[in-house]
Amino acid sequence: MTLPILPTTMVGSYSMPGWLERLKTDYFARRISRHDLDEIHDAAVRSAIKDQEMAGLDIVTDGELRRDNMIDYFIERLPGIQIDRSSKKFYYDFYDSEVLGKIPMAAIGLTDDFRFLLANTEREAKICITGPHSLCKRVRNKHYPTEEALATDIARVMNMELKELVKAGAKLIQIDEPYYSGFPEDITWGVKVLNMLVEGVHAKIALHICYGNRYGKPSWEGSYRYLFPAILSANVQQLSLEFARRGGEDLDLFREFSPPFELGAGVIDVKDHAVETPDIVAERIRKTMQFVPPEKIIVLPDCGLFHLPRDIAFAKLRAMVEGARTVRKELGR
């Protein structure tokens, strides 16, 4: 499928329904079986895909509705990481986890998720993966001499998984590294580890960096200036950043450094329940175009829609699509 100019997509997660939260908690309380939960997840993911299609997105994800949060879904699958299963009160909490020895090579098992997505949509599909820098920040390191060493081994294991995803048909893979913004001093080794993660992965790689969206609120504040110039050596094709909530001041960095990447421009504030109008979205896209040519812009929300009620999340996506269509018309494309 050929994508239009200014293609639209989600960052990853879609609105988590209250009923699904409750059923996930029921699973933790042993009130429903794994089999039942898997079926429930399948239904929820199909619904999320359908919503994205109805909203008019060009590229869809599985809404990440199988995941408790952006960390645990991967930590649980990484071999050699000890998890305290009693450490969660609510499914969205992070597990307490620690690494006591070298992480062995093993499959993580994300390809089934991606195959399910492909089987349920005709649109372009994207799978999103939490990156090694963010993962290593949530694991107590009791083995490796440095965080970088731990992240490097996580990258080594996940690199194999990314290649499996490509074999399964993945053409666009997004790596999420929000913790870069919390630990800007790590950016040099963070990019080095990122490059190990994507080495030999023959797909378009997008890198999403925001200021956190835990519980629907920012975890940090600052400027994206810390990314530069280190980020210029990242082997990615697309950089996805949040601008709707924070304003577009950092767009100037794209003029200053002329990075070779496409820009996934956040034009929807996911931390505010007020739904943007298509006009506001169009205005944000036009502003982005002052710094990046339209051929290199992807239109998306600031971050995942996980914390928004479904009706608001859907309305925001609709507004985003309408705003993108308005600008496409202005461009005559």
């Binding site: 009160k89 519980y215 975890s219 504040e221 909530r245």
Partner: protein, 482 residues
């Protein structure tokens, strides 16, 4: 008959318990209550810590609506108000007639229909008090703080303020060390009173900034928020030395983000003292695994109404109408303003509340405050005692939820107030509503606040206030949940 002891006052509890048992056994023997009524009778022995309150010494409550699974009569006795030997007569008076319609003829002037406590007329009295505080203070000759149980607000204790400033300075220093100190440092005080605390806080901050040679003071943007414009006006002298840093903002304490949305995620410190305990509230009962809403109906005892009417030249038949007028225009409701004030103050003293329980299934429109779903409540209550009545603290929850989005990622909220921090405490004491001069006081359900906070990404901590012996206040503060 089941007897619930809801307090831990040892002496009065023992006396009241034996008197209650003998009273109800004798009423049964005398056939004043039937064996069926006796079998379903639930008696609650309370000890109301507020001398001024909305309760009769003995109150009878019935379940209403089709789903009323709580069959039978519920009698609530205030052990503090009932004098030894007086219980039998009070019970007889309260249980006959049990039909509320008949009570009208037996001495109650109702001011409203049954409804949620939150929407009761008593909160209009509360609002009137704060809007026309000067009028009230002029008549009583004392400031509102003197009406507080301790005669002074704990929020003004100098050492506590110094500690608070010290903590805040440390946060700013940490942000500066990380090169993340914002250009403008926003602090918000909600519910400012006379701004005594704000003034002391700013004095201390200015001094500390000088002592430690930092440059934080000029960056400070101190916002004083209150819904009463006259309160904001009265607060100005207390902060006059820092006027260039202060902004006075009229805001609804229930919804601060609505007014301050331009500061979303930007405020580093939000503080309030004794504000949550004065926000609209409602109560629910958890019984037999079902949720019941407590509905109330405000009234004035007829004898009191007659006395007030005579004193203020208002016919008893016009009492309810005059109350409505009072709530609209204040003491000017009566041609003679002085009598208007007397009417206001005497009616407030006399107001009582009748209660009934309504099964939640009969109130499809009743909903928990934002942040609390029915599923969430079931989780919270699964380990609760089988019969539990507690505050929803809906106003406090609403305010809390609508304040959190203002906080900077490193920001925190501090609330000094009276908190119940464990649901079980509701079985061991009375936590409001009580009357303080013209306003209402309710303890705040900190246990529910904690649950809501966790789902919103914050851990809540309650530290007992240690700077005044005997203080009942605690300091709630938030830390970010990872």
């Amino acid at each position: 008959m089941i007897l619930h002891l809801n307090h831990t006052k040892r002496d009065s509890a023992a006396a009241a318990t034996s008197e209650v048992v003998s009273t109800f056994l004798s009423l049964l023997e005398e056939k004043q209550i039937t064996p069926a009524e006796f079998a379903h009778l639930q008696i609650f022995l309370d000890w109301l810590q507020y001398k001024q309150n909305f309760r009769e010494p003995v109150m009878v409550m019935n379940a209403a609506g089709e789903g009323g699974g709580s069959s039978g009569m519920e009698v609530r006795i205030d052990s503090r108000q009932v004098r030894p030997g007086a219980l039998r007569e009070l019970v007889q008076k309260a249980i006959r007639p049990a039909d509320p319609e008949q009570r009208n003829e037996t001495g109650r002037i109702y001011l409203e229909d049954f409804q949620s406590f939150r929407s009761s007329i008593v909160w209009d009295f509360n609002r009137l008090y704060w809007q026309r505080l000067k009028d009230w203070e002029h008549v009583t000759g004392k400031g509102y703080q003197q009406a507080l149980p301790g005669g002074i607000s704990d929020g003004q204790q100098p050492q506590a303020i110094a500690d608070s400033v010290g903590d805040f300075w440390t946060l700013l220093k940490d942000l500066e060390n990380q090169n993340k100190l914002p250009q403008e440092v926003f602090v918000l005080e909600i519910g400012v009173g006379l701004a005594t605390r704000a003034g002391l806080w700013l004095d201390r901050f200015c001094a500390l900034n000088q002592e430690r040679g930092t440059n934080y003071y000029p960056r400070l943007r101190f916002l004083l928020g209150d819904y009463s414009l006259s309160t904001l006006e009265r607060s100005r002298p207390a902060v006059k030395k820092h006027m260039e840093l202060c902004s006075f903002i009229a805001l609804d304490a229930l919804d601060p983000i609505k007014t301050l949305s331009f500061l979303r995620h930007k405020i580093l410190h939000v503080h309030s003292t004794n504000m949550y305990d004065n926000l609209p509230d409602e109560e629910i009962v958890w019984r037999d695994n079902r949720v019941y809403w407590v509905q109330i109906r405000a009234y004035v005892p007829a004898a009191e109404a007659a006395r007030i009417g005579t004193a203020c030249d208002v016919a008893v038949a016009d009492i309810a109408k005059t109350v409505n007028r009072l709530l609209e225009v204040g003491a000017e409701a009566l041609p003679d303003r002085a009598k208007g004030m007397t009417f206001w103050m005497e009616i407030w003293k006399a107001i009582r509340m009748e209660e009934r329980l309504v099964d939640a299934v009969d109130l499809p429109d009743a909903s928990f405050p934002a942040g609390l779903s029915s599923a969430h409540m079931e989780d919270i209550l699964k380990d609760a005692p089988g019969d539990l009545r507690f505050h929803l603290s809906s106003g406090a929850l609403e305010s809390f939820r609508n304040t959190l989005p203002l906080l900077h990622p490193r920001g925190y909220l501090q609330v000094q107030d009276i908190f119940v921090t464990d649901l079980h405490e509701y079985c061991m004491g009375f936590y409001g509503p009580g009357k303080l001069d013209g306003s209402i006081v309710n303890w705040v359900n900190g246990a529910l606040l904690r649950e809501v906070a966790e789902r919103a990404g914050y851990d809540l901590h309650f530290a007992p206030f240690q700077h005044r012996a005997g203080s009942k206040t605690s300091v709630l503060y938030t830390t970010r949940r990872e």
